[in-house]
């Protein structure tokens, strides 16, 4: 019970946290691009768009930062056995994240936000790039830590059976990390692009500020098209890596109960829950699973039943099969939505090429609603990777069921779970209200801010940013 509650809490808070993180990483990069365009062309449209999307970025950063703090505290609060056991390895990338990324991101965000009209133009441009680099570095270190849980490397077991760091470099060249990091950064850029595209499309449909938002729609599409194309192949490669190191995860994602060679890819099935080993296949594509999972036409995929037998022989009795329903559908939500986003992006690219983007009403309407898709895909991705590791908290080293805090009772976790959910609902509602309000009316405010007179040197600073 305590363990399940702690899991629910971690799942809830991390999924919530990761609604905001990719927006931050993606928008920080895109805002930096817009400001660079302003710096190079001196076109005031780019400046007002920099300020406009910069404020959307700030509203998100606020929630992303504070919910990240919850994640850091939660390891010690709910998972003290885990923290005590692996802290000697897992803690290092977290500390590096703080030292190398968080300081950079937050200090330069303050400099950027308050530095308008105060820093030289080029230096001010540098601050937003520092923010963007900070957000990406932060993702780097946290994924090093997470990848170690998926595929532990660079450690030795000491006399007490505890993992001790022995090669820090191994953590950074862990294949699970390399491909996982690329996957997350691309996903974040896609999220940022789709948010920017949606807001721009909303204004273009209403025929307001057309020239400004045409530029941002263009920037969003130009970044989105290559990103989504590369993402499809990176996601695929990550699947191959995971098939190698965490075969259970991928076998469960394909609901592949028995070994196959060659393997068909199931497009749609009915049933296939935890105890349903004979789901009804509706549509299958021959050979596709072999290609996706192994990169070869006839590659074999080991089935869940066979893997379960192997694991029992290696680790002792127990159930080593993750929740097949979550695995099967989360990978499909990602793959299917990504395909739709690809089609949308190509359509937008074609409209851009033909010069018809401003008046393509159906495309613009779809683009507004497409803003939902990255959040679904991002959530599905984390469910796939985290649920797919179960029953392990660190693959092969420690089971989740043994990792929670012995001193924390179910009542404690209920209190904190309810408190955090309530706080998150309030913050989420306030965030949504502000995002929508600002998306619709914010441009006038951004213009007003941009018109602030610059302070004479030595004079008191008149700007009130907050």
């Amino acid at each position: 019970m305590t363990n399940d509650l702690a899991r629910w809490q971690f799942a809830t808070t991390s999924v919530y946290h990761f609604l905001f993180v990719p927006v931050t990483i993606g928008l920080a990069f895109l805002v930096a691009i817009l400001q660079t365009a302003w710096y190079r062309t001196d076109n005031p449209d780019y400046k007002r768009m920099t300020r406009f999307f910069g404020t959307l970025l700030l509203i998100n950063v606020a929630v992303g930062v504070v919910t990240g703090l919850v994640q850091e505290f939660e390891f010690g609060m709910n998972w003290s056995t885990y923290s005590r056991y692996v802290g000697g390895v897992f803690g290092a990338p977290l500390a590096m994240e703080g030292l190398a990324a968080f300081f950079l991101e937050s200090t330069f965000l303050g400099l950027w936000l308050f530095g308008w009209n105060r820093l030289p133009k080029l230096v001010h441009l540098g601050t937003i790039w520092a923010v963007s680099i900070g957000t990406m570095l932060s993702a780097l270190f946290i994924l090093v830590a997470n990848s170690w849980m998926q595929h532990p490397v660079g450690y030795k077991l000491n006399k007490a059976g505890q993992p001790v760091l022995s090669n820090v470099w191994a953590l950074f060249v862990n294949p699970t990390f390399v491909w996982g990091y690329a996957h997350v950064i691309l996903a974040s850029l896609i999220t940022g692009c789709l948010v920017m595209l949606a807001v721009s499309a909303w204004y273009l449909r209403k025929q307001q500020h057309v020239e400004s938002f045409y530029r941002t729609a263009k920037v969003a599409l130009i970044v989105l098209i290559p990103t989504i194309v590369i993402q499809l192949s990176v996601g695929n490669q990550l699947g191959v890596v995971e098939t190698h190191y965490q075969p259970m995860k991928i076998a469960a994602a394909e609901a592949q109960w028995n070994s196959c060679k060659p393997c068909s890819f199931s497009l749609l099935q009915v049933g296939g829950g935890a105890n349903d080993k004979t789901p009804s296949q509706i549509l299958e594509i021959p050979h596709l699973l072999s290609v996706l999972a192994t990169g070869t036409w006839n590659g074999p995929v080991t089935g869940l039943n066979q893997l379960q037998a192997q694991y029992q022989a290696k680790y002792g009795p127990g159930n080593y099969v993750p929740d097949v329903f979550i695995q099967y559908w989360s990978i499909r939500v990602m793959a299917y939505l990504a395909t739709l986003v690809l089609l949308l992006a190509l359509w937008g690219g074609w409209l851009l090429y033909r010069g018809k983007l401003r008046s393509a009403r159906v495309f613009l309407w779809l683009s507004v609603w497409a803003v939902i898709t990255p959040f679904l895909m991002n959530t599905a991705g984390w469910l796939l990777t985290e649920s797919g590791r179960q029953p392990w908290i660190v693959q092969g080293l420690q089971k989740t069921v043994n990792a929670n805090s012995p001193s924390v009772s179910a009542t404690d976790i209920w209190i904190s779970l309810i408190a955090l959910v309530l706080v998150y609902i309030v913050l989420g509602a306030a965030d949504a209200v502000l995002m929508l309000r600002y998306s619709r009316h914010g441009l006038a405010e951004a213009d007003a801010e941009a018109a602030e007179p610059s302070a004479a040197p030595g004079a008191p600073a008149p700007a009130l940013t907050y």
Partner: protein
Amino acid sequence: MQLHTIWFIIIVLFWIGFFVLEGFDFGVGALHMFVGRSETERRVAINTIGPWWDGNEVWLIVAGAAMFAAFPGWYATMFSALYLALVLVLAALLFRGVSFEYRGKGEGARWRGGWSWALTIGSALIPLLIGVALGDLLTGLPINAQHNFTGNFFDLLTGYGLMTGVTLLVLCLLHGATFLALRTTGELRDHAHAFARVIGLIAILVNVAWVIWTLVVIGGGTVPEPTQIFGVIAVIFATVLASTDNDGWAFASSGFAIAAAIGQIFISLYPNVMISSTNHAYNLTVNNSASGHYALFVMTLVAVIFMPLVLLYQGWSFHVFRRRVIGATADVQQAPSTSAPGPDAGTEATAPT
């Protein structure tokens, strides 16, 4: 010197950095409604910490993460023992953290008032609760041989812990008041001076009482340590200087007082990191809770490379925004539609709430 001792010192420095820097943020946040009588003054007060509060808060994240990396046993026991207290800290950090961004961006006095209260309560609660936690490390909590906490929430409310919490809260309020005086002009600065003088007197009494109690807890006899003596002197300096024009020195003194208080807790603690009130044999120490040698060595390299950089760019940020902050009232009256930060501000400045 052994690596785990070096890391103990580094972690103490992170905690000192956090309280000295975020300490004035907490003070400003908790006082902004009372020092600022009008909406414009409140906004000026909040904007004095605007460029920095986020970067200052990272010192807490880094202190926690460094404990996790260098002393996993300490991090695990402390964070799971302080469970419900930390839930409160998190809630306060959450509301306070977003209040900066959200407060000015919504519409209406109720929206702003609500986030102002979130900022005020959050800013007061966090140093109080973390103070209780740090006091508990020293006075001891029920911890068993496996280093697991065996008490409940009420065991966390030790007398000495509460006293430490109150001391840190009062010091943060003083630090916030001296900071506001340093960063503002006119009436707002006069208010800040008045607050600093009154809070300073309270801080002197509280700090002396806390120093005496600390001596009792550590049982080190009746002679105060240098940090304690200098800490008290710094509080007196800050209070006296708050009546003069020496804003910079008053602020430096209140900052030094906080650094001395935090430093004192950890100096008294070493080589322990958490005292077990069940049995001193179960104390967590720098030895029995540390990571392996190699991990500490790698972390030391990382700290040696990145800490100077962090200090450099945070210092630069403080330098860039060193000027005093004033309200935009005059501009607003001339041209309400263009020079105010948002449409709301025009009405705020001319018709203060």
